[in-house]
């Protein structure tokens, strides 16, 4: 086995960009057992492609220009490195409970960026991430693979093919390929894994084949009297095969051809397997490497729907149809009689012009035809009680709009938390708040439910259920008791700070396991850190930290004199903790925390610490927003109940327009804030860089909305609202306090200035 340096020889010649060594072909060989040396692939990677030959790129360019000037060929998607995704609401379903996830596959298919083949890179991980999202999110009922690609690397194409098949096997969600200007070679390869393929009449497809093209300038070198003389071990005579400075001999050509043939065989196998209507011989007849126009392709019918997946259905009609409620119309014999302009394959009522409508509409139409009976889902109820307060008014055309439906895990968390709140949290809330006693019972219950590990990555020992799950739980808790929501926030924020930090592993384990209650002392408190040997000395006072009065562990974010960020885990016994009569969150042990030369080990410094603190802050803002949303809804519900029952001037208060409108406005604002909160949580779960701004937006909106809702709820209650029994004064105080926490509202607006001016 030679090493990479030696193997890169041929490709490091002038004029060629040395590509990074790719992984050996994954298919069927995962887990090792591959006898071929890596250097082999390094040598030939540059040219081992499922690619339409170079001339076609000109065609692609032409088609691309044409499409942009005519504008009738539909949309092009954003760059692949953009982690946002388009979600197409199902046509006609205004509630948007069912969505189609569109995954754009644009340009050359490759995981590594490679200018040589015009690949931006990241295709595999992009598709993978989106398929994972589609698998996770039960509101996504189908996937549209929007392919506009001349092909790409064998390994990348094969890996995507494998991912789609795996997704198809594990999920009852159809994957539909939609061809844009071009879906050739590798582009077709990945489409072969899809349940259905749709093309437009101007699509160029086909190019089923594998090519290794070599560049050879041996003769040119000879003419100018230059020679490259490789020195080889006699046992490795082919080590310099495909060297551009040496003519390939017969034996080497045979070796390469056998590889190409092997790849080709696999390609044929993929197509044969993926398209039921074609037998192997037909596939081979079509797969002579030529390209097809889509119309010719329909004539040839290489892109028939029905994967093995569907064949399974045919064998057992209950399997998939039972879920869909009706069998699909599959009239294969009728197909050729359809006008060729309609490249639609086997779904949907006749007469639709997919070409004019573009891919998104096509997806919507596809769904209208086939998906309306899928997954009758339980609606999410947003209020404290059983009335759904979320109005579900997203327009069907809101692409890239987040849609607020929970997946099964999140629904389960919602149900569990809601029950816990009703049984344990809410009954205790009033008394603990009034007497400023700690909600120990609720905290024990949270630990028992395992909610402390909710958003913490699985690798770090958590449940890996994401920020949105945390948001769901917090919102419910806040409806019953803001203090409990606040304590869960503190625990999870500490966890998120420590997540992934080697030195914080033990502490994180204690937090997740509920062995220690954590409180986060953030940068806003201005704690100063000084290097002290390997550890740190901390100085300063945090005026108000919720949870600190009962916390065993303080996770402290601080800065050294020269501005370096550090994160320290401090045993609360080593700090001076003093309970304070805070305006809100009485039952969450709000306390003042002082450090005076307190020694603590640093669990992170510098960039690691910055990242850890950012993780914590973002989580805190989103969770804070969720606390406000829950509190806002609780206030609205209290006001709704009171005004419906309270009779004044001969009728229920709620019959007064001025009173009813307060409820309307409060709900409007809280609901909007909730959208922002969930949006931020989703961005956090997608690892999107926009999460910071989104979290701050959500936090500001939610606290504003909740304050207003609580204020109006007090007003609607009249004198009763001013007393403790009706909960709304507590909500009001909690929100007033929340507004000052985690840097406060003004700082947050300051923090948003840079991006709004950018």
């Amino acid at each position: 086995m030679t090493d990479g340096t030696q193997g890169q020889g041929p490709s490091a010649t002038p004029g060629q960009t040395p590509p990074r060594p790719p992984m050996p072909p994954a298919r069927g060989r995962e887990g090792g057992g591959d006898a071929r040396p890596t250097s082999f692939y390094v040598a030939i990677f540059v040219t081992l492609l499922l690619f339409v030959s170079a001339g076609l790129n000109v065609v692609l360019l032409f088609v691309a220009l044409f499409s942009s000037s005519v504008g009738s060929l539909g949309t092009t998607a954003g760059p692949l490195d953009d982690s946002s995704y388009d979600v197409v609401s199902v046509g006609g379903d205004r509630s948007a409970r069912k969505r189609v996830l569109r995954i754009p596959v644009e340009g050359a298919i490759a995981e590594q960026a490679s200018p040589l083949i015009g690949a931006a890179g990241g295709t595999v991980s992009f598709v993978k991430r989106h398929l994972e999202l589609a698998a996770r999110d039960s509101s996504i009922v189908a996937v549209l693979l929007d392919i506009n690609s001349p092909g790409g690397g064998v390994t990348a194409s094969d890996e995507i093919h494998r991912l789609i098949r795996k997704f198809d096997e594990e999920n009852d969600k159809p994957v539909v390929a939609m061809f844009g200007d071009m879906a050739a070679s590798g582009g077709y390869y990945i489409a072969a894994a899809c349940d259905e393929i749709w093309a437009r009449p101007t699509t160029i497809t086909g190019s089923i084949g594998v090519i290794i093209s070599t560049l050879n300038y041996a003769e040119a070198l000879e003419k100018i009297g230059v020679s490259q003389d490789p020195i080889l071990d006699p046992r490795t005579p082919h080590k310099d095969m495909l060297s551009p400075s040496k003519k390939a001999d017969e034996e080497e050509i045979a070796i390469v051809r056998s590889i190409v043939s092997e790849m080709y065989e696999r390609f044929v196998e993929i197509v044969d397997e993926g398209r039921e209507q074609l037998d192997r011989d037909q596939v081979i007849a079509l797969a002579d490497g030529r390209i097809y126009s889509a119309q010719a392709g329909v004539g040839q019918r290489p892109r028939r729907s029905d994967s093995r997946h569907r064949r399974g259905v045919r064998a057992d009609p209950r399997a998939r149809r039972g879920r869909r409620g009706q069998p699909r119309r599959v009239p294969p014999q009728a197909e050729p009689r359809r006008p060729p302009v309609r490249c639609r394959l086997d779904l949907g009522p006749p007469g639709r012009d997919v070409v004019r409508a573009g891919p998104r509409a096509a997806a919507a139409q596809h769904d209208r035809a086939a998906l309306p009976l899928l997954l009758a889902r339980r609606p999410l109820t947003a209020g404290c009680h059983t009335r759904p307060t979320h109005p579900q008014t997203l327009p069907t055309s809101s692409f890239a709009m987040q849609h607020f439906e929970l997946n099964d895990e999140q629904s389960q968390i919602l149900d569990t938390t809601r029950k816990f709140v009703a049984d344990v949290v809410e009954p205790a809330a009033l008394e603990h708040d009034e007497h400023r006693t700690f909600v120990q019972g609720s905290i024990d219950g949270l630990a028992e439910l395992g909610l402390f590990g909710l958003p913490i990555a699985e690798e770090a020992g958590g449940f890996g259920l994401g920020t949105l799950s945390l948001v769901v739980a917090i919102e419910e808790l806040a409806k019953g008791c803001g203090s409990t929501a606040r304590l869960l926030t503190g625990q999870c924020v500490c966890g998120k700070v420590l997540e992934g930090l080697e030195a914080g592993t033990d502490a994180l384990e204690k937090l997740v396991g509920g062995e220690a209650l954590g409180a986060f002392v953030g940068l806003e408190h201005g704690i100063a850190a000084t290097a002290d040997g390997d550890g740190l000395r901390l100085d300063g006072t945090a005026e108000l930290v919720t949870g600190a009065g009962k916390a065993g562990m303080l996770v402290v974010a601080a800065r050294t004199a020269d501005g370096e960020a550090v994160v320290a885990v401090v045993d609360a016994a080593n700090a001076t903790v003093e309970d304070v009569p805070a305006v809100g969150f009485h039952a969450a042990a709000p306390a003042k925390v002082s450090f005076a030369g307190t020694s603590a080990p640093a669990v992170a410094r510098g960039a690691d610490a910055e990242a850890a603190i950012a993780r914590g802050e973002t989580t805190a803002w989103i969770a804070g927003a969720a606390t406000a949303v829950g509190t806002g809804f609780a206030s609205i519900e209290a006001a709704r109940r009171h005004t419906a029952e309270r009779i004044a001037f001969g009728k229920p208060l709620a019959k007064q327009q001025a009173v009813a409108h307060k409820l309307v406005e409060s709900r409007r604002a809280v609901d909007a804030a909730r959208h922002q909160t969930w949006h931020a949580a989703r961005l956090a779960d997608l690892g999107d860089a926009g999460v910071r701004d989104a979290a701050l937006h959500a936090r500001l909106s939610a606290v504003d909305a909740a304050l207003r809702a609580a204020d109006e709820a007090i007003q609607s209650h009249g004198g009763y609202g001013y007393t403790v029994e009706y909960h709304v004064e507590r909500h009001y105080r909690d929100m007033q306090m929340l507004e000052t926490l985690e840097h406060g509202a003004e700082w947050m607006r300051d923090a948003l200035v840079a991006s709004v001016l950018a």
Binding site: I714, G718, T723
Partner: protein, 253 residues
């Protein structure tokens, strides 16, 4: 005046006064009685007739009359040093001479009292607002750059300016109503306007104080107390919506 079932809709009260010889016998609990547990003398509005408005009369009731009791003490958001209690009247015998004004004039007396009361609450709100504004001013005045110029953020300074302007506006509204009242002229709508604006200002100022002074002010501070105290000014002596009702009616009459 207030009862469990009649707050803003004061005329819905049900406490009854029955004539018995020269005396009146009063029955029914009264709610939200500020300083009720400390008072020696009450003015009680009770129903002496069927008519919603003209069936209400006012009585002077002394604390030591048999049957006068103190019920539940409210646990409140603010004004905690001023007890708010329920006063129960259980067959309280009141001499006929204790009838205030004429029989059936009670509600008119109540409304007139409320006009004056609203000026009181408006003034209370002005005081809370002024105190909160002073908290903010003091805090911002401490923030100076190296040349001694104010360096507080614009967000905070602008808020201070708005609050100061609103304070003067509310104060002038209140003074106008007070002057009308001193002149013996009707001042209902003017008093309502004064309370409407001043009580909103008090809450705005107190909230702003907590926000601007930050987390430290959220625990056991003057600003935090003002915040909790301010909230009642929008509720008692006619909630904000009632002030709007009074003003709107006077404009449309």
């Amino acid at each position: 005046l207030s009862e469990a079932g009649s707050g803003s809709d004061a005329a819905a009260l049900v406490c009854e006064a029955k004539r018995d010889g020269d005396d009146w016998v009063l029955n029914g609990p009264k709610l939200w009685i500020t300083t009720g547990s400390e008072a020696g003398l009450y003015i009680v509005f009770a129903r002496t007739g069927e008519d919603r408005v003209k069936g209400i009369s006012a009585f002077l009731v002394e604390r030591q009359y048999p049957g006068v009791g103190i019920g539940k003490k409210e646990r409140k958001l603010g004004i905690k040093a001023s007890p708010t209690v329920e006063v129960t009247l259980d067959n309280v015998r009141v001499p006929g001479a204790n009838l205030l004004g004429e029989e059936g004039r009670g509600f008119t007396i109540a409304l007139d009292t409320l006009d004056g009361g609203r000026l009181g609450i408006a003034s209370q709100a002005l005081g809370i607002a002024a105190a909160a504004i002073e908290e903010i001013r003091g805090h911002l005045a401490d923030q100076k750059d190296s040349k001694g110029r104010p360096s507080a953020s614009q967000e905070a300074q602008w808020k201070l300016a708005d609050l100061a302007a609103d304070l003067d506006a509310s104060r002038f509204l209140t003074w106008r109503a007070a002057m009308l009242r001193d002149a013996g002229q009707p001042c209902g709508p003017q008093a309502a306007m004064a309370k409407l604006k001043a009580s909103k200002l008090a809450n705005d100022a107190a909230r702003s104080a907590v926000r601007i002074l930050g987390a430290k002010a959220a625990a056991g501070s003057t600003a935090e107390r003002l915040l909790r105290d301010a909230r009642i000014t929008e509720i008692y002596e006619g909630a904000t919506d009632i002030q709007r009702l009074v003003v709107a009616r006077s404009l449309l009459a």
